[in-house]
């Protein structure tokens, strides 16, 4: 966006040599364990760490400064840090002059956030804010890492842009060990976006609204392509509810369990005339389907995944599909053919050929070239060795654009009726819900343990390991609790891995105005003991 692309700017193997790690809203040792271990290696080599998280994570424990902000106050915090940087003259004047625009607006905006005000909003002491600003701004190089904690808010897009501002202000971008790095959660969320599994862009982020982009694909596919963007998932759910969408085809996902306000999602899907679900298990969503198609697991097919550092890597078929299951790509090809548009690909390598011919970032990629090491996009041609870090010397959009970002409050802050703030996330031993199907992993972490601060526990008369009822405006569930100061007073933390205590019946479906990412991180709940 600000730089003109939404991917990790640096590489995972740069992490151990980092000088400063600024980790915000991200719990890498649990959500991206190997990235977490690389961060710990950096710490062992003397890197400084600034951790920004309401919850005491492992990185918060090893951080030089841990900014324990109130959930949802990230924008105020970063504005405050930029205010301190400017007040001390720690900004990179040369970088700002040569490679950016919009600095004056930023300065005016940031002026509204003096440290004392920010401290009040965020609950972080002023001296910690100053120390964090100093560590980040005066480092020879510094990397920012963020994940769900940043994007899963109604203003998630703003959160991302303001981090870009921070990096440009200090010139910490576009070189080795310096950049802004989203740690993407699901294994191939990067690839799904790259491939245009989005309503507004074709593969390679080419806009469906652009006549030239459409012309290119229309020529290749020999059909007209609609010029208006389609529906994003939350809008699909609403449209299904309103009978505007009549049929859905869902591959590999379980929105009933993973999407915010799960009861509403379920109702919407039940309203459809026709629902097809393709999955390796009979998921909660599949149970609602009219037709269920058994898919092959990743071990049963060839293909590629693109990781969070833009590395396209091979997935290699190890076994034949179980029972009559079929690889997803084969099922899609079969359906297209039956619907009168033959997809005659002999193999995923064949599909990659077409991808490369239409997607500039993947232009030089073939299965053969990927081999055992993969390639990091952009790979513009067949000789190009791939790209370790982005924006060297120049941003994708030319000059980096500073964006003045207003501080906003979460859509549903706690109130009298629902006094606790619920935040959700991932656990180390599980990945969304699919790992629940691993007996080994499941026996190790078989049930939800919602985290509650000792202060609240005492007030509510709840003891460690007891069962509680958690209710929000949308739904209720029961879960066991763990009493711990990992979470702030006034806060409840849950994962979303367990169908026995599906956190997403509670969460708020209000979503970011641009990306429509749900606000999983903040909603009001009340907790009571189960007797």
């Amino acid at each position: 966006m600000t730089f003109g692309s939404g991917a990790m700017t640096n590489s995972i193997n740069e992490i151990p040599d980092s000088k400063v790690l600024f980790i915000i809203g991200s719990n890498p040792t649990e959500a991206h364990p190997i990235i977490g271990t690389k961060m710990k290696q950096a710490v062992a080599r003397g890197a400084k760490v600034v951790a920004v998280d309401p919850r005491r994570t492992e990185m918060a424990d090893v951080a030089d400064v841990w900014l324990r902000l109130r959930p949802g106050t990230d924008i105020a915090l970063i504005n405050g840090i930029m205010n301190i940087i400017l007040a001390n003259g720690w900004e990179d004047k040369k970088f700002i002059a040569e490679r950016t625009e919009g600095f004056d607006q930023l300065r005016a905006q940031v002026a509204k956030f003096p440290p004392e005000v920010v401290s009040k909003i965020t609950g972080v002491p002023v001296d910690q804010l100053i120390e964090a600003a100093r560590i980040y701004a005066t480092a020879e190089s510094a990397q920012i890492f963020y994940t769900l904690g940043i994007t899963e808010h109604i203003y998630g897009t703003d959160n991302v842009m303001i981090l870009a501002d921070l990096s440009m202000l200090t010139g910490n971008v576009g070189k080795e060990n310096s950049g802004v790095n989203p740690l993407r959660g699901q294994n191939n969320v990067q690839g799904a976006c790259d491939m245009g599994a989005l309503p507004d862009v074709l593969p390679g982020y080419q806009k469906v609204t652009s006549p030239t982009a459409r012309a290119k694909f229309e020529a290749a596919w020999d059909v007209p392509i609609k010029s208006e963007s389609g529906l994003m998932l939350p809008d699909m759910i609403e449209a299904a509810f309103d009978h505007e969408v009549r049929a859905m085809y869902i591959m590999g996902e379980d929105p009933v369990l993973t999407d915010a306000d799960a009861n509403h999602v379920r109702e919407a899907l039940e309203t459809l005339d026709f629902l097809v679900v393709q999955n390796i298990f009979l998921s909660e969503t599949a149970k609602l389907a009219d037709v269920v198609l058994p898919a092959g697991s990743f071990a049963e097919k060839d293909g590629t995944f693109t990781n969070t550092e833009r590395r396209v890597q091979r997935v290699n078929k190890a076994i034949e599909p179980i029972g009559q299951a079929r690889a997803d790509w084969q099922i899609i090809c079969d359906l297209a053919t039956r619907m009168g548009y033959p997809f005659a690909y002999a193999s995923p390598a064949d599909v990659m050929q077409e991808i490369a011919s239409l997607t500039p970032q993947y232009a030089g990629i073939t299965f053969e070239r990927l081999g055992r090491k993969g390639l990091q996009w952009p790979v513009p041609d067949a000789e190009h060795p791939g790209t370790k870090f982005l924006h060297e010397g120049k941003f994708a959009r030319g000059k980096g654009l500073f964006m003045a970002i207003e501080y906003q409050v979460p859509d549903e802050p706690p109130d009298e009726e629902y006094p606790l703030l619920l935040s959700t996330g991932r656990r180390l031993s599980h990945y969304n819900i699919s790992t629940r199907y691993s007996e080994a992993l499941d026996s190790y972490a078989p049930e939800e343990l919602a985290e509650l601060n000792p202060e609240d526990a005492e007030r509510l008369g709840i003891k460690d390991g007891e069962r509680v009822k958690v209710a929000s405006r949308r739904g209720a569930l029961e879960t066991k609790v763990r009493i711990t100061d990992r979470v702030l007073p006034g806060m409840l933390w849950m994962s979303f891995h367990y169908k026995e205590s599906p956190a997403n019946v509670l969460t708020n479906a209000a979503s970011d105005k641009v990306t429509k990412t749900y606000e999983y991180k903040v909603c009001g709940v009340k907790v009571s003991k189960v007797i």
Partner: protein, 353 residues
């Protein structure tokens, strides 16, 4: 880069300055046995199996911690070197259970490999005291048999240097020395996060993957490198396949992102592939109940129904949800299906995270 030249077993070799004698040998395919060395870890020089003879040095220095220098003359296979290595191996074997027949590590065990190569007899130190320590069977992932531990310390370094945890350490001294979680706790009671890095470096059967016990011998297993489906880090590893079944995961040192390191999900979560709840046949719902169907029935029905909806309500009355767990190729095909076949831009995938 500065280069130096030295002689190994009569051969002149040139290597970058700063190379150890062991590395110089390996670069030139001169075999040296090692038990406590791992290229991803710091070197301790404790097992001394990698000893060589170097002109001008009185003792036999361990090659893994000896820097190669200009003009150095190294011999790796003299009688003195071989005899010393054999003695080291005899000592290890004297206090090692010889249940190789049923040991999970058979065929992949460095101690057995070198014992064979050096014709270790087990006679030299016969009758010495042996350890009788209990198995640590306390967790679903890692099986620890301290009787087989040769105290190489690789697991200790892997846990500390790769994983940043320092769960493992040496305890007790002399004959009673052990390596394991601090205070000699079982794994389940330690701070272990079950990344299995320790298992991946253990040269013997002291640490093994519990779920792989009895599932297959190395020579029966085909290893297929692939990319982990559990998070955006994109670790690579080898699926171990026997008779068309994935029996487990082992590290692949070539993996570009992670080397030998993995987390608990990647290393131990793959039993989900053969979970008994896997869908194995298409299902069609009739009167609220799922009924098994053939692919032709199911696919014809889907094509027909989607066709009808498109006909009656237009293409935009259909929405397609692709998946951040599926491959690039599948995502590409799915959006092409939506845009080119159905004729709608209603294509998305779950949670843009």
């Amino acid at each position: 880069m500065e280069w130096i030249t030295l002689t190994i077993d009569g051969r002149t070799v040139t290597v970058p300055k700063g190379t150890t004698v062991l590395e110089a040998c390996r670069m030139n395919e001169i075999p040296i046995p090692t038990l406590c060395h791992d290229p991803e870890l710091s070197s301790y020089g404790s097992c001394r199996l990698c000893i060589v003879e170097i002109e001008g040095m009185r003792n036999l220095p361990p090659s893994c911690v000896t820097q190669a220098t200009q003009g150095m003359v190294v011999r790796t296979q003299t009688t003195k070197v071989r005899d010393s290595r054999k003695t080291i191996l005899e000592l290890l074997v004297a206090n090692h259970p010889l249940d190789c027949m049923t040991c999970q590590k058979m065929g992949d065990c460095d101690l057995a490999k070198y014992a064979y190569e050096y014709r270790v007899t087990g006679e030299l130190f016969k009758g010495g005291e042996r350890r009788h320590l209990p198995l640590d069977d306390s967790n679903p992932f890692i099986l620890r048999d301290a009787n087989k531990c040769i105290l190489c310390g690789k697991c200790v370094r892997a846990c500390e240097e790769v994983q940043g945890r320092s769960v493992l350490d040496f305890s007790f001294r002399g004959f009673h020395a052990q390596v394991g979680p601090a205070f000699n706790l079982p794994y389940s009671e330690s701070e272990c996060v079950f990344c299995g890095s320790c298992v991946s470096v253990c040269p013997v059967g002291a640490l093994t993957e519990k779920k792989m016990v009895g599932q297959g011998r190395p020579w029966e297993v085909e290893k297929v490198q692939t990319t982990c489906p559990f998070c955006g880090t994109g670790c690579n590893f080898d699926l171990n396949v026997k008779d068309g079944k994935v029996i487990g995961v082992t590290s692949n040192p070539e993996a570009p992102v992670n080397g030998k390191a993995l987390c608990v999900k990647g290393r131990f979560g793959m039993d989900l592939i053969h979970n008994s709840e896997r869908l194995t046949t298409p299902l069609i719902k009739k009167d609220g109940e799922f009924v098994e169907a053939t692919w032709d029935e199911a696919m014809d029905l889907v094509a027909q129904k989607l066709g009808e909806v498109k006909q009656e309500h237009g293409a935009d009355a259909i929405s397609v949800l692709s998946s951040a767990r599926c491959t690039n190729e599948e995502n590409f095909l799915m959006q092409k299906l939506a845009r080119a076949v159905i004729g709608t831009n209603n294509i998305d995938h779950c949670a843009r995270t």
